[in-house]
Amino acid sequence: MYPLALTALNAGSVMFALFALSTAAAHYLKLSDWKALAAGMVGLGVAGYAYFWVMFFDTGIAPWVQMIFLGACIILALFAVLRRSASDMALIVPCLGVFAGAVGLMGWSVLLAGPDDSVANIFWFAGSRWTSPLPGDNEIPFHFGLQLREAQITSPMYVDWLSSDRPPLQTGMYLLLNLGRESREAYQGSSTALQMLSMGGIWVLARAMGTSRLWSILSMTALWFTPLVFVNGLFVWPKLLAAAFVAIAAAIHFATPRKERRSVMDGLIAGGAAALAMLSHGATAFALVGFAVAALVTLRLFSWRYIAAAVAAVVVLYAPWQAYQNLYDPPGNRLMKWHVAGAEAIDDRSMTEALVDSYSKLTPATWAKGRMDNIDRIMNPQLWAVQDFAAGRLNATKFRDQMFYSVPLGIGLFALALWGLPGFAISGATRALSIATIGALLGWAVLLLGAGQAVTHQGSYFPQIAVIAMSARLFSGNAILSKIGFVLFGAHVLLIGFIHALA
């Protein structure tokens, strides 16, 4: 129960800070509900990132900075409660969604755990509760935080990983928002809550497309009931956190009509969200490259002020981390070399050298085949696993392994929406976002060098969130579709709930 209590405490902290910042954005910046939540999430991310730098430069003043931040949140939340405005109150739902998502996931994971799933080692529990044991990536931000607090960063920092190999956002947000004594359990609770910001991300995306409030809530619920969230919400390599910020960038740029004006504030939110996504996990780059192409295809370039604001936000936020990678603990390019140049082993080659070496070995035909293999890997339903599980030849853990690796199985019945992705381009409300999602998938399939290696955890997780959000938009469109949607939603929840109730 100890991890559950700490999850409730730290999810409360995340929810509370998010509510304070979002309502402030709604009131003082006059933003709509979804844009206010987006601004609140970006504000929270920027605060966590800034706190990382405070810890890096001076651990002595860090507690004061934390106290000032939390005190400011208390005051802002108090103002919101006293105002009692409808725009503020509308933001309670997604903030509660983040809290309920975290507590619900930890509660489900702990309370339904079998005798072999001990929480004594919470990191092991998180990495083996829903699948066969995963490697220790979920611990890396925790040890980075400890080393920052100790003002002693080692190189390598974690086994053979440098501190510069993994981006710092989750570390900073955890250190800022953790209300418990520093411990593995507190980190787990806080980080699970941070992954649940993906609930906020899908809500933003759904509302931006004009989805009804009911279906926006159901989109959060549907996302929660996916193997993607069960695994990645507990195993806290910060990929869902990254996806939450990608969803915000997509919402601002692709989810509203092209004729709608984009302001400088929109640019700051979109650019800030894109940078924060990159500062959560580098695999985000696959989606962002796809977005750039989709923006050109859909002629969504908007005003130069908007673009300049977005670029400025990216540069201001990302440049310091680039400096850390290149100057403090170089080279910090291991993941990028792994994913984009296929160089899994550590070596001294630069990114360019690794790219040249890898691509020079490929013929156009083998390169093209590799891309097709990646697309096949992304879209393949892995029906053999479903059949084997139904026939009892695959136990629940082994089946969940397959759900973890497979993109379609990882989103349950919403795999139907993934396969029907081009269909969303028929409706004006989802057209641009569907093209951006296709761009994100193609960016992943093309840039990930390894042939047929595009399994879920090598990607950005954005397409999965986007197809659920677009489905919710579709279902909220009219009464008949809504009824079909309720049936699909109910079946999805029951099916995924059942599979995750099995030992």
Binding site: G60, I61, Q152, S155, Y158, Y328
Partner: protein, 178 residues
Amino acid sequence: MRLRESFWITALALTACGPGAGQRPILTKSEAVYDFSHAAYWTPPELLAGPLQGEFSCEGPCAKTTPAVKPPPGLKDLRTTSAQKGDADVSTLVWRGTIPSGISSIALPMVTGPETSRTRIVAKCGAVTRTLMPKDAWGYRRLTFKQPGASCELEIRAIDDGPGWGQWIAIGTPEMLR
């Protein structure tokens, strides 16, 4: 320039150029090994550069030798909470002294009995406090409290709350590091 803008620019400049900016060296494996299970840094004894100036006091029973676990060679001044009643003794060992201005990192020799659950070490230097998780073998725990430039008063409290079997703790005089 308006007051509000000046404030933000000053805050940014302080963050970028403030205390410690750019002065923190990264640790290599030859300087310290990071122990994941204890979330601690252990320094090799060959990097020790002499004891810090300071003195021990005991809040409760204490002794100057640890017969159960042989201390590392060169460690002469230590205290343990395992005194006349052995593991049943409960007390707090206190070391107070100064980290001189030119030093930023120190090494604290420490060990506990096999049952570590009710022992802890709290080290405080100026505004910085660290709570340390001991282990049941002698080791030199590396600590960084400040940047070089100003001295600070260091207080180390090794607390043994447990009267049960294996519940004891010992620390030695902290050492400067090369």
